[in-house]
């Protein structure tokens, strides 16, 4: 048995967890660990330019692969810089293990150089955290951290490692545990038959059902089961922002994303439904509008791996707490197509089609050859969709571009749409694209961003050069913080408080070039599609495509604050209420 130090045991434990990539940034308290990384070749360390980006990159990797993303940062500012990334992963239930260096045990609490209370600062935004108290416990803690991060409702786990715990002179026998014992942790799986029967009975009786699927279906790898259920019932399916791809967007039963900027037909269907089956979605405020006025005529079934998400916001008739795949299979075994009210559901699907015809999204904005001066941001997404055959991994930042991408890029597969839905973290797009590209070097990976968001983690252009990551950056440049501007237009009388840059924007083409990448600027709708093809076809280059879009475009539909799900603005001049 080879002896290890705490530092080398930590890295060896990661290798035993089949970790291939560790995103991070070195510093004093983590130096023993970095020395251990140098002396092995199983775990590759990726040096980012800012710890926030390390966490987002690991997060993008985790979302795209379904594996646990892994991060290593130093104490103090290294740890605090990681916080935004950890909170982002926490809100979207992404499995991460974040290892933070800490000052030596005897210095904790003395305000030592680069000391911060990482356990305290991260507590509300982690699924769990560990402070290493002896080097010998490192293998077991790593094992526990991975299990906790990945099982049940996934989430980030922090391991805080005081420097003396990794002392290279303190050696011990290393053994990686096969399993672990935890009296205080359990994972729900199947549910009792009576609950399945209640749910099936409601599904079979429904005349106006909606399957409302969220990120839990992606995390729970239950897309196939969802498709089977939709087929048996011929039921309309809507996805949340986090659930895009859980059900194929080009499927005839798909009615689009719901919520704040969901499609007219999806929001109307939620309002008029007589049964809502929430699958791995949590009735987030962006998808319910006013909970008091939410879908009052609908019976509700809620399937979620998180017991705490059930009846947190909306009371339900049947709750199914457990693993989505297992529970959906239990339902599929019970439900009988003969009992489905086919005639009523056909009528219901027609009603939804009518809504789509009234105020649905126009997915053909490129074909119509608009004689417009400015490029519409929606056209850029449609052009991207065409150039990538709808098959790319799309990461995004936060704002209007995120909503346009969600609305107009038709995701047919899970794990292809990578965005910060819960926390809404600007700066997420580029580093998460790096994580995806590391995992899928042969796939198109595109970061759809805006000139506001991209500048929050733009330093990662350097990381992309170092590791040869030919991601594509599509910058919807409207010369303003667009989503804030939209709200200021609609609710603050057009008073543009602090959203303009006053000619201080960099020349993004030159900026990309200075990092050794390719820059492109597009201002003319006539050349958009050709340049997009050119951009996507440069497989071995990072291309930064700076597209000047109409600065006055708003995202619609938009739910009216405080209203029900049918109360929407569908354009600058039209509203449904």
């Amino acid at each position: 048995m080879k002896k290890e130090s705490g530092g080398s045991a930590l890295i060896r434990a990661l290798a035993d967890e089949n970790v291939d990539l560790l995103f991070g940034y070195p510093g004093g308290a983590a130096l023993h660990i970095y020395d251990a990384i140098y002396q092995q070749n199983k775990v590759q360390h990726i040096l980012v330019r800012h710890e926030q980006a390390a966490v987002h990159a690991a997060d993008g990797y985790a979302r795209a692969t379904g594996k646990v993303g892994t991060v290593l940062v130093t104490s103090g500012p290294g740890a605090t810089n990681a916080i935004t990334g950890i909170a982002t992963a926490y809100m979207d239930s992404i499995p991460l293990v974040v290892i933070s260096g800490q000052v030596a045990s005897h210095l904790i609490g003395t305000d030592a150089f680069q000391e911060t209370d990482m356990m305290g600062i991260s507590r509300p935004i982690v699924k769990h955290s560990f402070l290493i108290q002896s080097p010998e416990e490192i293998p077991e803690v790593v094992k526990k951290a991975f299990i906790i991060a990945k099982t049940g409702k996934p989430g980030p786990v922090v391991i805080d490692v005081p420097k003396d715990m990794t002392d290279p002179n303190h050696l011990f026998d290393y053994q990686y545990p096969k399993d672990i014992k935890m009296r205080s942790y359990s994972v729900p799986s199947e549910v009792e038959v009576s609950k399945i029967e209640e749910a099936v009975s409601l599904l079979e009786k429904a005349k106006k059902p909606v399957l409302y699927a969220g990120g839990g279906i992606i995390q729970g790898n239950a897309s196939e089961e969802l498709k089977k259920l939709a087929k048996i019932m011929n039921a309309p399916v809507t996805n949340t922002l986090m659930g895009l791809g859980a059900f194929p967007a080009t499927h005839e039963n798909f009615i689009g994303m719901l919520g704040m900027h969901g499609t007219y037909e999806a929001n109307m269907a939620m309002h008029e439904a007589d049964l809502i089956f929430a699958l791995g979605s949590r009735f987030d405020d962006r998808t319910t509008n006013n909970p008091q006025k939410y879908s009052l005529n609908a019976k509700k079934i809620h399937l979620d791996c998180d017991y705490g998400s059930i009846e947190k916001i909306i009371n339900v008739d049947v709750s199914l707490n457990g693993d989505a795949k297992k529970i959906l299979n239990q339902i599929l075994n019970k439900i009988d197509q003969k009992n489905i009210d086919k005639a009523s559901i056909d009528l219901w699907n027609n009603e939804i089609l009518n809504w789509r015809e009234t105020h649905g999204l126009n997915h053909d904005l490129l074909d119509k050859k608009f004689h417009q001066k400015q490029i519409l941001p929606q056209q850029v997404i449609q052009s991207l969709y065409k150039s990538t055959n709808g098959k790319a991994f799309i990461t995004s930042d936060v704002g209007q571009h995120q909503m346009f991408a969600a609305q107009y890029y038709k995701f047919d597969e899970p794990r292809k749409w990578i965005n910060s839905g819960g926390l809404g973290t600007m700066g997420f797009g580029l580093p998460s694209a790096m994580g995806v590209k590391f995992a899928f070097p042969d796939e198109d990976v595109v970061c759809v961003t805006g000139e506001g968001s991209i500048q929050m983690c733009i330093q990662e252009l350097s990381t992309c050069m170092q590791y040869g990551l030919p991601v594509k950056i599509i910058n919807l440049n409207n010369r303003a913080l667009g989503m804030v501007k939209q709200w200021q237009d609609m609710q603050y009388g057009g008073r543009y408080s602090s959203i303009l840059y006053e000619d201080s924007l960099p020349d993004f083409v030159k900026l990309a070039e200075s990092y050794g990448h390719v820059g492109m600027k597009v201002e003319d709708i006539g050349e958009l599609e050709e340049r997009m093809d050119e951009c996507i076809s440069m497989k071995d280059k990072l291309v930064f495509m700076d597209v000047y879009v109409d600065p006055d475009e708003h995202v619609y539909p938009m739910l009216e604050a405080g209203g029900n799900m049918s109360e929407m603005r569908v354009s600058k001049t039209k509203k449904t209420f």
Partner: protein, 170 residues
């Protein structure tokens, strides 16, 4: 108002996770008492929480999600007993103190210290009894009080004990 009993791992950070959950989610704690049990790897808490039924149900779910929490029991859902301990310091004579204690029945009181012109009384009772006792005191003579917060336990077979460890393979 609910009394919640919690069994949790007796390790650093565990209490802050439980208490932090309350501030993080905007729940109010009325009182909290905590100490290790006969099994020194476990701590037991009793919490008094003044929230509506729907919020209590959310609190119980969120507490169950905290990884250091082993078991949670809503004492308000089962038959249970509860009591509080208080120490009161008064500026009175020992004779006056004895009189106060006698008249305070059913609350159990006892003089535990007498130094200079100050007397300390130990009280054991329900929290209403302790409230009533404190209200009855002469404000000029009543100097300070410390209360344990409520301690509670389910009666009969309403146990709050740790189930055996579950082994998780992966």
């Amino acid at each position: 108002m609910s009394h919640i009993s919690i069994l949790m791992e007796n390790q650093p950070g565990a209490l802050s996770r439980v208490v932090g959950l309350f501030s993080q989610r905007g729940y109010n704690i009325d009182s909290l008492s905590v100490a290790p049990t006969n099994d020194s790897s476990l701590s037991r808490l009793t919490m008094v929480v003044k929230e509506e039924e729907s919020v209590i149900s959310q609190i119980l779910k969120q507490l169950n999600k905290v990884i250091d929490v082993v078991e949670v029991q809503n004492l308000s859902d089962v038959e249970s007993v509860s009591l509080e301990i208080a120490i009161v310091k008064l500026k009175i004579t020992e004779k006056e103190a004895s009189k106060i204690i006698e008249s305070a029945f059913p609350i159990v009181g006892e003089i535990i210290n007498h130094k200079d012109e100050f007397v300390m009384i130990k009280l054991i009772g329900s929290n209403h009894e302790v409230d009533d006792f404190l209200l009855s005191l002469n404000k000029q003579k009543f100097l300070e009080v410390t209360r344990s917060g409520l301690l509670g336990m389910g009666t009969g077979e309403n146990f709050l004990i740790s189930e055996s460890e579950t082994t998780i393979e992966y």
